[in-house]
């Protein structure tokens, strides 16, 4: 049963001591109700409060961290659909390193992956984790792969090794780096002991809800909370369904044994299939996916999808306010202006490109708002645009002295001309999709 902020407030000391990091008990109670804080942060909570709040105050899905340098944080999600709030922790993408590939090849691969990152709307997108799979017979292969990864990378490591002795020796190498262990057999006491002593997390593999439930309860009873669930299925439809059921059970039915991040090792016939599977899993609740392949074009597509899905719907992605070239503009090319709301930018730049002309697209700083919203808020008018154009020294970059403004803000054209001496303002079309015909019919330079 979820408790309201007021219910929780009644159980708190009401001293407003502030030691929890929040100024008042009421504010702390509200945070607890939103599952953004844990009761243990209050040093004076009564036993009564602990018992009553106990289960209710824990986040419904645990946050699990892997790695110490570039830590991958997964879990702690609170909604089924991104429009209800947002998805908080993006799917961790793990690349598999198989020990059978041999030391030289692995080193080359690790170096390449470490150097790989791709820029998109102001973010550098990279892989997050390595899954080291011990698929050769010599235990030394496994240890040397772990050493290579540790030496050349700060990404977190998931170990997939069936031999207990090798696993223990491997964990010893990365004991300070919050390792994760992928278990592919029924959980044993020894596994729990290993995870606890190396401060690692366990990825539990099961084949039914009851199986997963049993293993998670066993681990939790032994004091291990860093768990990740891997409910295996070969069928993608089944996987999405399972992920949905596990997430819904944790969020809405408060089933604690399902309140952990979800893991999927993506198997596929070819890379097209691999991408299709991975894409569906990113949308539908996988916290970590492990890929058997390193393919740059595939990763770029997946990273972009992940960035899209995990964008906070209430805080649209902003693009950097500056002048963007569309095509190959010269100083004499036409100039368009829009706001730095990512979608406005994408639509306008896309349609200018479709029109076949080259142009300068000035993206003004409007705090990420769309054209009309920004205008209504006083962030996109004659004065602000003129100031922005002066700040970026546009007159030094181009010879054109005409600027096309969005048709929706035709009312600012006079004001803009007044604030921008020497410039002519052209009122453009309202919809970006009309740009190709607009540029054919209007003299833009």
């Amino acid at each position: 049963m979820a408790l309201s902020g007021l219910d929780i407030f009644k159980l708190l000391p009401k001293t407003n001591c502030g030691e929890c990091g929040v100024p008042t008990c009421m504010a702390f109670a509200m945070k607890l109700a939103q599952k953004k804080a844990e009761l243990s942060e209050c040093p004076y909570a009564s036993e009564d409060a602990k018992t009553t709040l106990g289960a209710a105050s824990e986040p419904p899905i645990r946050l699990v961290k892997i790695g110490s340098g570039n830590t991958a944080e997964v879990g702690n999600e609170t909604v089924m659909f991104r429009h209800e709030k947002t998805f908080f922790h993006q799917t961790g993408i793990a690349i598999e390193l198989c020990t059978s590939e041999g030391k030289n090849k692995l080193l080359e691969k690790i170096k390449e992956i470490e150097n790989y990152g791709v820029e998109r709307v102001g973010e550098t997108l990279t892989a997050d984790l390595y899954l080291i799979t011990h698929d050769s017979s010599d235990p030394e292969d496994c240890l040397s792969a772990i050493k290579l990864a540790k030496e050349h990378s700060t990404k977190g490591i998931i170990l997939n090794c069936r031999d207990d002795k090798t696993l223990r020796e491997g964990l010893e190498i990365i004991k300070d780096d919050r390792p994760a262990i992928l278990l592919q057999k029924e959980l044993s006491d020894k596994d729990i002991e290993l995870a606890v002593s190396f401060d690692g997390s366990l990825i539990l593999t099961g084949h039914s809800y009851d199986d997963i439930d049993g293993q998670a309860k066993k681990a939790k009873a032994a004091g291990l909370n860093s768990l990740i669930l891997n409910l295996e299925s070969d069928n993608l439809g089944r996987q999405i369904q399972d992920n949905t059921i596990l997430r819904r059970s944790a969020l809405k039915k408060n089933i604690k044994s399902f309140g952990y991040p979800l893991f999927s090792y993506v198997r596929a016939e070819n890379n097209f299939d691999l991408l299709a599977r991975a894409s569906a899993l990113i949308c539908k609740y996988a916290s970590i996916i492990a890929l058997p392949e390193y393919d740059k074009a595939l990763l770029y597509s997946l990273f972009t999808l992940r960035q899209n899905i995990f964008t906070d719907p209430q805080k649209p992605i902003q693009v950097d306010p500056k002048v963007y070239p569309v095509g190959d503009p010269t100083p004499e090319s036409p100039i368009f202006i829009t706001t730095n709301f990512s979608l406005s930018y994408f639509m306008v730049s896309g349609e200018i490109e479709n029109s076949g002309i080259s142009a300068h697209l000035v993206v003004a700083d409007a705090e990420g708002q769309s054209v009309l919203t920004a205008w209504a808020a006083g962030k996109f008018n004659g004065e602000t645009i003129a100031k922005f154009i002066k700040d970026i020294k546009l007159e030094e970059q181009v010879k054109t002295r005409k600027i096309v403004i969005p048709g929706f803000v035709s009312m600012i054209s006079g004001d803009l001309e007044e604030n921008l001496p020497g410039w002519e303002v052209i009122v453009g079309c309202q919809e970006a999709s009309d740009i190709p015909s607009f540029v054919k019919n209007v003299q833009l330079t």
Binding site: R82, V118, Q241, K296, A297, T304, N308, G350, S437
Partner: protein, 325 residues
């Protein structure tokens, strides 16, 4: 424990829409294709039926867009400019379940082909394949109204999917669809309320509900996909919750949208971290299509043969033998 699956039942159901018409129904198609009929969110097989699985259409052109990536030319070569032959190839070689004929060349600024020429192309495609046909237009109201009226007339009885009308321009085309027995796409710009409003306008003019397909407007991967994704989820949730004006099957355009983005064309030598150009376009389309599939798309118009193959295989895997076909 014996775990009990938490089920959420829905009162609403997505309208079933049948595309195409066989001789018995007054057309010449070898079979019809029905979409919609879901009583649960996509892939929630545990709490409701999906009467029909999603389908994949491919698109042919009266005039191929000059920006289409080389990868498409590699697959289709010169038939890219021969809609009848290309349609045949899409169906027989790549397994297209429907064919969309895109009449962009009728736009006054993109070739200004006449309504008669457009109708001739549609006729040609109807003759070269036996699957149901989609006819896709553009947003030049005056011209597309002429074109679609003519197309509806010459394809009378074929139950084509006429793609599309929008709030500012629906009456002429909708009336032609009623008069000549076609199905209609209602397109709205990534907004639940605008989508609903257009459906209300259409049903107010007695347009039959079982002949409406919605297009929430597709943003490609990296170009606003997240807006389309969430609007589709919201439309579907509301439709299943009983809002009849949102309970229509949804059409998306991952092919067209992905083919035009820079990522489908840019050379690897210019963007080494983007990986191989040859496959990137297909990848972009797959990631776009897959996410739209999980957010509720029933009809996907796709371009790249490799992407079509991958998505069709996934639909088959995910829906298995659960649904009739």
């Amino acid at each position: 424990m014996t775990f009990e699956i938490p089920r959420e039942t829905n009162t609403g159901k997505i309208v079933e829409v049948t595309l195409g018409a066989t001789a018995r129904e007054g057309g010449t198609r070898s079979h019809t294709v029905t979409i919609g009929g879901s009583a649960a969110l996509p892939f929630h097989f545990f709490e409701g039926n999906h009467s029909h699985r999603p389908v994949v259409a491919m698109e042919v052109f009266d005039k191929a867009h000059p920006k289409f990536p080389d990868a498409l030319r590699d697959y289709f070569g010169e038939v890219l400019d021969k809609p009848g032959d290309m349609a045949k190839k899409c169906v027989s070689e790549y397994g297209a379940e429907l064919i969309s004929v895109r009449l962009e060349g009728t736009h006054p600024e993109k070739g200004n082909k006449s309504a008669e020429e457009a109708a001739e192309i549609v006729k040609q495609v109807l003759g070269s394949v036996s699957v149901p046909i989609i006819v896709t237009g553009h947003s030049h109201f005056e011209k597309i109204n002429q074109v679609m009226k003519k197309v509806c007339e010459i394809a009378e009885g074929e139950n084509c999917l006429i793609n599309y009308v929008e709030t500012d321009n629906y009456k002429t085309i909708a009336a032609a669809c009623i008069a000549y027995n076609h199905t209609l796409v209602a397109q709205s710009p990534i907004d639940v309320n605008l989508a609903k409003q257009l459906n209300i306008l259409l049903t107010d003019m007695d347009f039959p509900a079982e002949r409406i397909v919605m297009d929430p407007l597709t943003g490609s991967l990296g170009y606003g996909l997240e807006y389309t994704y969430s609007i589709m989820e919201r439309i579907r949730i509301d439709g299943l919750a009983g809002d009849k004006m949102l309970a229509f099957p949804m059409l998306v355009n991952p092919g067209y949208e992905s083919a035009l983005v820079k990522e489908a064309r840019a050379e690897e030598s210019d963007y080494p971290e983007w990986g191989s150009t040859e496959i990137r376009g297909a990848y972009w389309e797959i990631a776009t299509a897959m996410s739209l599939l999980v957010s509720g798309a029933e009809l996907l118009i796709m371009y790249h043969p490799k992407a079509v193959e991958a998505i069709k295989a996934k639909i088959k895997e995910m829906y298995g033998s659960r649904n009739g076909d």
